[in-house]
Symmetry: C2
Subunit: 486 residues, 2 copies
């Protein structure tokens, strides 16, 4: 039961096995919709808590907008509807009524069908048009945490599901510069959040025209490398310019009394991020979680042989738990009547960063055993130094996971300058390729067609460097990142 | 602008005016769906934060289940589907495609239509059937925070909207007794939360057969009296018995290895509660908020006549704000260039419990003025005693709001024993009527038909008392609460 396939054997199956073994999520009976189980949802709650505070610190407030979007709203921004029309769940009736076969069928058709939100720009900006009158109403900085529906044909737990959870921020500004700054501020916030809390080394940059959000002037993104060398986009921040403002007539009187359209941004991050978290850190034994995001940071396994020992060891285990909780460490004592080995194995699969073992001998020696989930290291720690040692170990694990992932990312990122090398390189070994590109969507499409690699982003951080497009040989001034992606 | 109708003139309009003036919510362009604006959503966030911690303290964990429910799932429990079929949003297509009029229309019909969840018993219990195998898997204690859709024909902000936000808890137990205890535990939790934090005097009890949740064995509820004497149900907790367990085959092996159906409960509370909060405490000047749920507890209005004064007063105001924040009070300094009167009026409408005024003279006197939103009382407080005084005042406001509402509820609750009195009483004066009822649904329906009053609940707390049904004269052993309701 709960056998985990090795990464080297079948990476895709390994991913699903890790999710099952850690009891994070499962497919529901509704096509493409997942059930996020308590262990998985606890990760999302931690992500929400941290991010929400960070958003609010930049002046953002939360609100809630309707689940349904009138079809006519989507149609207002031509590129936007083009981007989403193919994957829309459409509500057409508002009642079920008995049919003559003894069952129920949709009844009371709607005059105007409603779309279940695939993203909320249009329904939110319909409201913004009413809210914004003067420059004094700006900037408008609003976020919502909600569910989203996109009818995906091929789904995969967390990574691509018909319904998912996310946050979407929507801001409106008086000036273009402020909107561009907010776009950058939020992608930077995502990057630092993911690096600091999720231990994910992130490359941030700008999407190409072909890859940008439908309706945006441009899109910025954060990308991470999975252990199979593929890229996963973990968040985006869009500079919407005045496209939606024109479509929805979001106008304000500036300080001189002149009417202008607002400049807008939108930015989002979803439960997909949990997929990245799993794929970057976990190993053949199961889930590995960075301490800063782990719902449970330390599990205590009391070890006993008889009832007398049990009583004594449990008392000690619980008193240790209390002390660690006092310094804000999330602890659980596993009191179940199971063999220690079964417990070790179970918590390992769930990715708890530290296991603390304590038995009768340890009590005599006034010490405990700490075992790290990330590298398997075991150390004997004197009880008196335990609190400090646990804190230090959690910090070390967090750092180690980040460094390990960064090392992997760097080792699997290579600069390539010839088209033959490019093609061979991707066949031989997955990873990120830094290559020159002329900026033409045609080259981008041709490269994708031949290699399945897409341009993940034009990284913000890179040195200017003259070169030639790896495909067509035309002039280029900087490298972009190519990779196969989830 | 933002004029508030008097309660005595038009209570319904007053309610909508208070919401508009406090900027809590508005109707969206989608029929029946509201936009919860930042001021309103902040209330929901506070409700969520407090309740979520209370749920977790009883062992409940959060999870997330699909938005969509297959039609066939709803049909599995006959009474359940009967209760919800008339108000279901039905998804029938998963794409929009160009039609020959240059517009878009629903395309790619679904083989099996999906219902947007009107409540999640069926989709959750489909999962529970897979999760539960042995008595060791029980109790299963899960909650989800999500959006819900019920196609209401007459909607009203917060009170009745096509889409609303709520939490729904779903538990499964090995024994009937445990399930009954959980049903009671959660309704008690709702009551104490609403009384302590929202200052709402609550009457809890059991619903009649006619008013129970479709599919439950019985329903318990919490009810509050609004200022117009009408009742509002603010939460429910259902003993589901084994009805859904049988329909969804949720079986477990008990300790003796015998297969049994689980016993279940479900319990929920929604954004409707915000409607109650508004209607119980607010006045003709606008929103009134209990300090324990108010997103902003104290607002500082600095008063100045010239730039020199402004600088000095603002510095003082911000230093006071800092000190109050240190003792965990939510404070804002209103630094806008507006007349103090305009600011007073604005914050009053938003229901901030305490206004603190400070001007140049106050600085000299080392004092400030505190004004209470609930009763308008103003006091001069020495700066040195400020922190203690603010805490004391917040406690006093919280208490006063509860007592005021309780007093109103008690004054508008009367015991009535004759049918003529019953009819006249409701015509003369709204409120709650405590009357004997024989237990027959026919009497209940007849009373409702004639008076529009329904049985709100059979209260838990009451003395046994022999009497005669107020309608038919048959024997009765206890009184129930009749009222017109939202």
């Amino acid at each position: 039961m709960d056998k985990i396939t090795k990464r080297s054997e079948d990476y895709s199956q390994w991913y699903l096995d890790v999710i099952a073994a850690a009891d994070l999520a499962e497919n529901s009976s509704v096509r493409g919709c997942m059930v996020i189980k308590p262990n998985g949802y606890a990760l999302w709650e931690n992500i929400q808590k941290i991010l929400d505070a960070k958003f609010k610190a930049t002046g953002v407030k939360n609100a809630y907008f309707p689940l349904f979007i009138p079809k006519t709203f989507l149609e207002k921004e031509a590129k936007h509807v083009e981007g989403f029309a193919k994957e829309c769940a459409v509500v057409t009736h508002h009642r079920l009524a008995a049919n003559n076969k003894g069952g129920l069928e949709p009844a009371s058709p709607l005059e105007n069908p409603l779309i279940v939100r695939p993203t909320s720009e249009t329904i939110i900006y319909d409201a913004y048009a009413k809210w914004v009158e003067s420059y004094r109403d700006l900037p408008l900085l609003i976020n919502q945490w909600c569910n989203i529906v996109r009818w995906e044909m091929r789904t995969r737990l967390f990574l691509r599901t018909t319904e998912f959870l996310w946050q979407e921020g929507h801001t409106a500004h008086a000036g273009k510069k402020e909107a561009e700054e907010r776009t950058k501020q939020m992608i930077d916030l995502y990057k630092s959040f993911m690096e600091e809390y999720l231990a994910l080394p992130i490359i941030s940059g700008r999407k190409t025209e072909a890859e940008k959000f439908p309706g945006a002037d441009y899109t910025t993104c954060v990308e991470a490398m999975m252990q199979d060398g593929k890229a996963l986009q973990t968040g985006t921040s869009h500079m919407l310019g005045q496209n939606f403002a024109r479509a929805f007539k979001i106008k304000f009187l500036n300080e001189k009394g002149k009417e202008e359209y607002v400049h807008q941004t939108s930015w989002g991050l979803s439960t997909r991020l949990i997929g990245a978290l799993i794929m970057v850190h976990s190993d053949d034994k199961g889930l590995v979680l960075p301490p800063k995001i782990a719902p449970l940071q330390l599990v205590i396994i009391p070890i006993w042989k008889n009832d007398a020992e049990k009583k004594k060891v449990l008392a000690k285990a619980n008193s240790i738990a209390e002390k660690l909780r006092e310094i804000s460490i999330e602890v659980e004592v596993d009191e179940r009547d199971e063999r220690p080995g079964v417990k070790f194995f179970g918590w390992e699969k769930q990715g708890v960063p530290i296991r603390l073992e304590i038995g009768p001998k340890d009590i005599v020696n006034k010490s405990v055993v700490l075992a790290r989930r990330d590298n398997g290291e075991k150390t004997i720690v004197k009880e008196q130094k335990l609190a400090a040692e646990v804190k230090k170990t959690l910090t070390a694990i967090q750092k180690n996971l980040f460094n390990r992932a960064l090392d992997f990312q760097q080792k699997n990122t290579r600069s390539i300058d010839s088209w033959t090398d490019f093609k061979n390189s991707l066949k031989e070994k997955p990873g990120f390729i830094l290559a020159h590109w002329c900026g033409d969507s045609k080259c981008e499409a041709a490269i994708q067609k031949e290699t399945k690699a897409t341009i993940r982003c034009i990284p913000f951080e890179q040195k200017k460097e003259n070169g030639k497009c790896v495909f067509c040989g035309k002039k280029s001034t900087n490298r972009v990142i190519f990779a196969k992606a989830y």
